[in-house]
Symmetry: C2
Subunit: 127 residues, 2 copies
């Protein structure tokens, strides 16, 4: 796998690293990736879209749009917002959102594994 020799190409210091990014698209548009995972996790902890947005240094409008898109792309709402009430409403993530976060965690792990393996391959090809 990948054994084209790179002996005279790479410096012999094992300092090369294969890195990358991953996201899930839905109908060609961004659906789920690290940013949305982080936003959902902040909503889960704070119970508030406003606080979650602040913690991410993001405008409320942008956070609201992200959640709105997410909810439209999924079969079941991932974030449920209560308006009004004593505390002026709040937001919570659904059980489905937790399932998606869990799936995404596994996907990330498999990707990290792929990257680590390719980093090893690449450096080995230079030896």
């Amino acid at each position: 796998m990948g054994n084209t020799g790179l002996k005279s190409v790479l410096k012999k210091k094992l300092q090369y690293k294969v890195v990358g990014s991953l996201r899930i698209e839905c109908g060609g548009e961004r659906f789920f990736g690290p940013g949305r995972v982080e936003l959902l996790e902040h909503i889960e902890v704070t119970g508030s879209l406003n606080k979650a947005a602040k913690q991410m240094g993001m405008s409320y409008k942008k956070a609201w749009e992200m959640i709105n898109a997410l909810n439209a792309q999924a079969a079941t709402p991932l974030v449920v917002t209560q308006t009004g009430g004593e505390k002026g409403g709040g937001s919570a993530i659904s059980a489905e959102a937790r399932q998606l976060i869990e799936y995404h965690r596994g996907l990330r792990q498999r990707f990290e594994h792929f990257l680590a393996e390719e980093t090893n391959n690449f450096n080995a090809a230079g030896l």
Copy 2:
């Protein structure tokens, strides 16, 4: 692998797609990725850094900096530039650059395979 059910999360249309990007870093800095591959390939075809830059809609300065960084990060120069002469010099890629491009092609293929498999997994988890 990734069998957390997403039955009530995903819309039943197999329209989700796992996508991503990949690059090779050297000492924490960008070393090799699709942009540099493209630049090397244009240099190979045109024999000129200036023409290659133009074809990519990139300034000569930026292209020169990319090549300069590449050459410094590799054990052997990947692009050799002749100054002067009848045609006012020209650029060519080295055999080592071709080896690296070839290795990168294999890496991309393995990544595409990973993405296709994960796309299938993800959509299957929603069924």
